[in-house]
Structure formats: structure tokens, C-alpha cells
Amino acid sequence: MAHAHSVKRHTGLMDWLTTVDHKKIAILYLLAGGLFFGFGGVEALLIRLQLIKPMNDLVSAQTFNELITMHGTTMIFLGVMPVIFALMNAVIPLQIGARDVAFPFVNALGFWTFLFGGILLNLSWIMGGAPDAGWTAYTPLSTSTYSTTHGVDFYTVGLQIAGLGTLIGGINFLATIITMRAPGMSFMRMPMFTWTSFITSAMILFAFPAITVGLVLLSFDRILGANFFEVSNGGNPVLWQHIFWIFGHPEVYILILPAFGVISEVIPTFARKRLFGYSSMVFATILIAFLGFMVWAHHMFTTGLGPIANALFSIATMLIAVPTGIKIFNWLFTMWGGQIRFTSANLFAIGFVPTFVMGGVTGVMLASAPADYQFHDTYFVVAHFHYVIVGGLVFGLFAGLHYWWPKMFGRVLNETIGKWTFWFFAIGFHLTFFVQHFLGLMGMQRRIFTYLPNQDFDTLNLVSTVGAFLMAVGVLLFLFNCFMTAAKPKGVANDPWEDGRTLEWAIPSPPPEYNFKQIPLVRGLDAYWKEKMAGNKEMTPAEPLGSIHMPSPTILPFVMSVGIFIAGLGLMFSSEKFNNSFMSMIFNNWIVVIIGLVITFGSMLLRSLFDDHGWHIEPEELEEEGVKA
């Protein structure tokens, strides 16, 4: 066993298709997430161009509805979620002193199902029309009676497959964080990013089954003729709203909590101070997650649930302001008395605080149901959630990417371009969305493809569109920065920011395949900082140097996802009338679905029948590789 060195080492494309290394999967998530983020961004720009002036006819009404639906769906599920997973994959095993995640195979499977779900959803553009019922897909508009293309089928099936990836990713991180922390790292010594990711994973575990059920019901209604949301047959459209938002509201906290974590890492590093009120931060995170499940009906104040429901959900929603406030002040007081450095990463983190507060206060305003009767479904709401998701989450992701880029790629992003990225993006952001608060209050409802002149909407919409293009310039600068940095040689220090506090900064950048030659011993919160302050150059190992057990690369996760993808397409077109009799035969007789499922379950069978014990890296090799890495 010890010298069973039969592992196949792949190179090039095969290496990426078969990898189970969390660091490589992180890069895959980043690439795929970045790509979909680009799609969503182009859709956003088209939306803003259409709204640049009244009665514009750049795109048709139908195309506009497809654009808004795909913009929302893509950004939430395929843009920011994967980038969050990229950071979680890249950082969490390193932060807790682990060699990989708990289930490397499942980790790869999560990525590939997400990617194929996302591809399926976006194929709708070239296969007969994108979904057009909004990212919320409210019934009856999203039923086959009113949305007659396959668009919404792409939405239900694509999201179902992508959501599967997210769910198994979440479970994997739960298991990883619970079982794989280095000796000495108690829960209350975990870095804040690991904490928030942990809570986010727990929320994924409880929230995603709701959307899974909802999507199954809607698919059944659309594809198999069921009646869950069909009033004339005893169904109820309001049921969809409940199911969607029982998932949908926790989802926004699933998104924002990791950003809170990033900010809680970046600000202490660049203020050279430990996080103020660490335990209250942990407590606030848990409280936000808990309350996040208790407030879904604030999206439905105008649905007509009655005063008792509205009153309870109003108050529950307002309460979220309290733990969020705790976090804001803790960040401010982390900087108080510190020595703040304005790196690009820190600019985004500092910019996050006031921007997110602005999104937060409008959230409390929306929580007041009678006021929400006016705000609801207007541009005020559009402004609010973009302040939270872009001004909060995306700022946080940019902070995290600039911060961990050297750890992921061994190169520091150019600081000058990084700062330009920030200023373009931040100014563009406020120009785009600040004015939208007023558009909403002046009577502009959301999701309209154009508007009449003489309503005082024209100037503010123009300003908003200009802002959107400034944001686009910021994103392009970031892309340019990535490419330019990639052309430079690797070779940054373990701790390029010099004030790294957590374990990932104790090992090379990028880390070797096995991360830690010896698992470190953790002596307190901010483990690496603690050692540095004690005058040590590196972590004290918790184990002797020995052979390291590694998981084998495998193509199975990729193949399984291809199978699900094929089955999904087969299901969607199962009752389609094709001109081609062969196509009709294989689709209408469920042959395509069966082929897809055989591929997936066959791969599972293979995986179960043939044990894979992985392979070992021996101590002698470690010495050499340690140098190369």
C-alpha cells in the first residue's frame, strides 16, 4: 500500500476535467462564474440601454422580459454563487489547516453539475427563447398556458441541475469544516470567513430543498400536465410564491454571509488589528441566518396575506437590522486604533461598509409593510437589492479576489489597476442605483420594457445607464488586470501582504497539492499571527513528517454531469413535436432521458463497485515538491 504509486497523472485539459484538488476546482469555479457573470453583465447593459430614453425600441418587449429574467437568474445562481464557491474552495481548507475538503470527488461533482446546469439554462437563448417570467417565475405567468416557449423549462431544469451542485457543495463544506479542522482549532478559533461559509453551507442545506421541490412541481405542471399551480383544478399560484421565497430569502443571506466573512478577513489584515468583537460577530452571523428563514413573506406584503401575517413578518424583518448593525460597528471599531493600508482589496472592503449600510437601511424601510405597499415592485426595490447584492456581495467578492489572488495564483494583482477598478466600479455603482430609489418613489414600476415620456423619469434613467457603463469599465479593468498579471512570473512570498493572520498565509503561494507538509498546531484565534507575534517564522507542526494520502483524479464527476445534462434536455423536449421522425422517436419515447440517466447511474455504479484507495506522496518526494511549488 505504502508504495502503491499507480496514480495516473493527467496533463493539460484532462488534468482540469479530472481534478479533485480543491485549489483547481476553485479556479474552475472562478472561470465558469466569471464567464456567466459576463453574460449577466451584458444582459444588464442591454437592459440599461433599452431604458436610456422613453419609448425606446432597441429590444422588443418579449426580448426585454427574457433579458431581465436571465440577468437575475444568471447573476444569482451562475454568477455570484460560483465565485463564492471559488473563494470557499480556495481558502477554507487552507484556513482550517486541511489537505483537501472532506469529499474531493463530490466537490468535483458539485462543480460539474453547476456548470452543466448553467450551460443548459443559457442554451435557451439559441434554442427557441429564454425564460421570460422573471427570475421569480411567478405562476400563472410561468405556466405553459402563458409562457409557451421552452424558456421556463430551461429555467426549471437548468436551475434544478445547477442547484444540485450548490447543495452538494454546501454539504461538503459542512462536513469539511466540522471534521477536518487542524488540532487546536476549536470552533471559536475558526477564521471569520470559515465561520460565515459554515453558516452559509448550513443555510444551503435547508434552503435549497425548498427550491428543488418548487422547481419539480413547476416542471410537473409544465411538462407532465400536473395542476399544482392551476386554479381551475384546485391548485394555488400563491403556493409558488411561498415556496420560492422560503428558498429565496435565505438565498440572499447565503450570498451575503460569505461576503461578510471576506470583509472580516480583509479589514483586520490591513488594519493590523484583530477583528473587534469576534464572538459577537459569530453570534450575529448565526442570528442573521436564523432570522433569514423567518422573513420570507416580506416579499409578499401586497399578495394579500392579511394584517397578522404582514405585521409579524414586518417585525421579524426589522429585527435583522440588529445583528447586521453589530457587524457594521465591529468592522468600524476593528479599524479604530489600527494602521489602515489602502490596498485595492481593502478599498473594496472599506467601500463595502457604507454601501452595504445604505442597502441595509432601505431594507428596514421596506420591512414596514404599509410603506412597502408603495415600494413593492418599483425601482426602489431594484435599488435596494442591488445595493445589497452588488454594493455588498460583489464589493466583497472583489475584495476577496484581490486579497486571495496571490494565494490562488502565486501572483499579486496590479495595485494601480486594482484601485482604478475600485473607483470606476464604485462610482458607477452609485450613479446607477442611487437614482433608482427616486425613480421608484416617483412611480416607476420595475420590469417595464419602456415608459412614456413626461413622467420625470427620463434624466434619472439616463444617469443610471451612464453609471452602468462606468461599472462595466471597472469590470473590464479587472479582467485586464487578471490577464496582465497572468503574464508575469509566479513567485510571491507565503505572506505577500505581510500582515496575514490566518493559516493560509503560512504556506507557499500557491500551495503545493497537499497544502500542508505537516498539519499545523493551532494555538489560538488568528493562528499564524499568533506565531509571528511569538517570534516564530512558521507554524508548529502537529504531526511528524510522513507519507500523505491523496485522492485520485477521476473523470466520473464530469461524466455523471454530462448524463444529467442529457437527461434534462430529454425531459424538456419529451412532448415536443419534431419535424424529424428520428428526433421525435428518441425524445417522445423518453429514450434520451433514459440514456442520460444510464450514463449518470452507471458512473455511480462504477464508483461504488471499484474502490479507489487514492495514492500517497512519500516524504522524500515532499522535499522536492516543496521546492518546486
Binding site: V322, M335, A369
Partner: protein, 347 residues
């Protein structure tokens, strides 16, 4: 209890300033910030309270942030490690309790208004009942007490409570007249909603659909016309008068055959499409083509012709068949447009 009211008092000057600032925003007949009835007025009041509290929060956070960012930048040659502060129990209690108090200040009037707004006035003696049915993409208004049905322009008497019962004939829509009240969704049978508002002053107010309902969601507008009680009664009488048909008998026959199969005028026609009684005196054609008298409006006949020549071009996805496909000639369309433009009600 005392403290809460003191806090509110401190917020009052802020409130006054914002009222002035916000009042400049938007059209009088459309903007949430320029309420024209008691319901919208109260809702704006709550918003102002919320905005004032939130501005206080923002000012505090921004001030601390600005101070910290200026005062605690890392200076050249600053190499000592700053003191690593774990936390501060007192401070943390303060910033937990103060937000909690602010939330309570906002929560109390919120709950009061939720219950006030939730009251069902549909069966009040002096309320005017209106059954609103939303369709892709037009609004039907039925007055069960008067036996009258109309579309696109909701005529109401000033000063009276208008009690609505809202439902949809197809997908979800949301009934919203920003200057008179917040919105309420129109759901299918089984989840029908009721709410009420009133208008103080005579005037025409703009209404919109606020729930995505298909391609022409943005064009699903309507008008609320508030008139005095006498005018309202005259309007009801005029609506109940027998139908006036085109004078030219051939045209009348075509109109009956092709249009009245779906639409109704007076006592004739069907209930599928919008009621056309007195369409010539409405503020818009199809809710979106504004007539003379409105900002940027055109003559009624021109709008009617634009609509009848190609309904899909005006409102993509609407359910009306193209009159040309029904075999109507340009002259017949012109004749019908002329007839409808002159079909006015006096009230």
C-alpha cells in the same frame, strides 16, 4: 416610553426638511411623494419616519467611518504593532440596544397602520364598491351597486371611500395608483383581495400594473378620474343609457358583428374585451395612448386609428385580433374610429 417620544421629537426637524425636499419629486398625479389622498398620505408619513431614522443611522456610520479612515491610516515609518483589542462589552451592548430601540420606534406605527389598512370596508354603508378585474393588459371596473361596467378609466366620487375587490382573469397583476395608495395584487379566485382608498380632490391620477404580467406589462396603465358626487351620479346615468351605434347602418352592422362580439357599448355586446361605452371622453386609448388634454396627448381619433390599424404594434402580446385580419377595410376602421371618438358621455 418617555424616551421613545423624545427620540421622535428629535427627529421632527429632520422630518420637516425631508418633507420639503421630497415634495419636489415627480408628477402630482403619479408620485408617491406627492400624495393626493389620505391612504397615500399616511403611507408617506410612515416612509418619512423611516427615512429620518435611517438618515440618523447613516450619518453616525459615515461619521465614524470618515473619522477612522482619516485618523488611523498607516503612516510612513509606523512599524509598531497596534494594540490587539478583543472587544468592548459596553460598546457592543450600546450598538445592540440602540438599533433595537430604533426598530421599536418604527415597528409601533407600522403595526398600527398594517391593521388600519387591513380593515375591510367593502360592506360599509357609504362606500362605493368597485370590482376590479385585471386582464392581459387592461383593467375592468365593475360597480355592483350601480350595475355599471367600464374599462381603463376608473371614475370615482371625491371624498367617498372606494372599496375594491380585486381579482385577475389570467396571470397575476398588481393594482397601483401611487398618488392615492399603495398597491395590491390581483390574484385568481380563492385568493381575492379587498382594500380601499379615497381621493380628496378632483383630478385624474395615473395607475399602473406593478406585477410582471407579460410583454406589455409596462403598458398596462389606467387612469383614476375623481369627480364630485353629482358628476359621478351623472356619469352612472350616462353609462346606463342605451347604446349609441354608428349612424351609417352598414357600419353599424359591421361594428356589431366584428366588435361587439367581444366589446360592449351600453346595453349591447359581450364581456370579453374592454367596455367601450363613452370611450371618446376617456383620458387614453388602450390605457397607453394618451388623449388630448394629457401631457403629450394626441386627438382621440388619431389614437383610436393608431390602435385599430395595428394593436400589436401598440401593445405587444395583447389579445385583440387585428381588425384588418377580421376583414375590416381602412375606411371602415376610419369610420369606427370616428364613431368611437365622438362617443362621449356628459357628466
Amino acid at each position: 416610553m418617555m424616551k421613545r417620544w423624545q427620540a421622535v421629537k428629535r427627529l421632527l426637524p429632520l422630518l420637516a426638511v425631508f418633507s420639503l425636499l421630497l415634495a419636489g419629486c415627480g408628477r402630482e398625479d403619479l408620485s408617491v411623494l406627492r400624495p393626493q389622498g389620505p391612504v397615500a398620505q399616511e403611507q408617506l408619513g410612515l416612509m418619512k419616519l423611516a427615512i429620518s431614522i435611517m438618515i440618523v443611522v447613516l450619518v453616525i456610520v459615515f461619521a465614524i467611518a470618515a473619522y477612522v479612515l482619516v485618523k488611523f491610516r498607516r503612516r510612513k515609518g509606523q512599524n509598531g504593532v497596534p494594540e490587539q483589542v478583543e472587544g468592548n462589552f459596553k460598546l457592543e451592548i450600546i450598538w445592540t440596544v440602540i438599533p433595537l430601540v430604533l426598530v421599536i420606534i418604527l415597528a409601533v406605527p407600522t403595526v398600527q397602520q398594517i391593521f388600519a389598512f387591513g380593515d375591510d370596508h367593502y360592506n360599509d354603508k357609504d362606500a362605493v364598491q368597485v370590482k376590479v378585474t385585471s386582464h392581459q393588459y387592461w383593467w375592468e371596473f365593475e360597480y355592483p351597486q350601480y350595475g355599471v361596467k367600464t374599462a381603463q378609466t376608473l371614475v370615482i366620487p371625491t371624498g367617498k371611500k372606494i372599496a375594491f375587490e380585486l381579482k385577475t382573469a389570467d396571470v397575476l397583476h398588481s393594482f397601483w395608483v401611487p398618488s392615492l395608495s399603495g398597491k395590491m395584487d390581483t390574484n385568481p379566485d380563492g385568493t381575492i383581495n379587498r382594500f380601499s382608498f379615497s381621493a380628496d380632490k378632483e383630478g385624474v391620477y395615473r395607475g399602473k400594473c406593478a406585477e410582471l404580467c407579460g410583454p406589455s406589462h409596462g403598458f398596462m396603465e389606467f387612469k383614476v378620474k375623481a369627480v364630485n358626487g353629482d358628476s359621478f351620479n351623472n356619469w352612472v346615468t350616462a353609462m346606463k343609457a342605451p347604446a349609441v351605434l354608428p349612424e351609417d347602418p352598414a357600419l353599424a352592422e359591421t361594428f356589431k358583428k366584428q366588435c361587439l362580439s367581444c366589446h360592449a357599448v351600453g346595453d349591447q355586446g359581450g364581456p370579453v374585451g374592454p367596455n367601450l361605452t363613452g370611450i371618446g371622453s376617456r383620458e387614453s386609448v388602450a390605457g397607453i395612448l394618451l388623449n388630448e388634454g394629457q401631457d403629450g396627448g394626441k386627438p382621440v381619433k388619431e389614437n383610436l386609428k393608431e390602435w385599430l390599424m395595428d394593436p400589436q404594434a401598440v401593445k405587444p402580446g395583447n389579445k385583440m385580433p387585428n381588425p384588418k385580419d377580421l376583414g375590416l377595410t381602412d375606411e371602415q376602421i376610419d369610420g369606427i374610429a370616428d364613431y368611437l371618438a365622438n362617443y362621449k358621455l356628459n357628466y
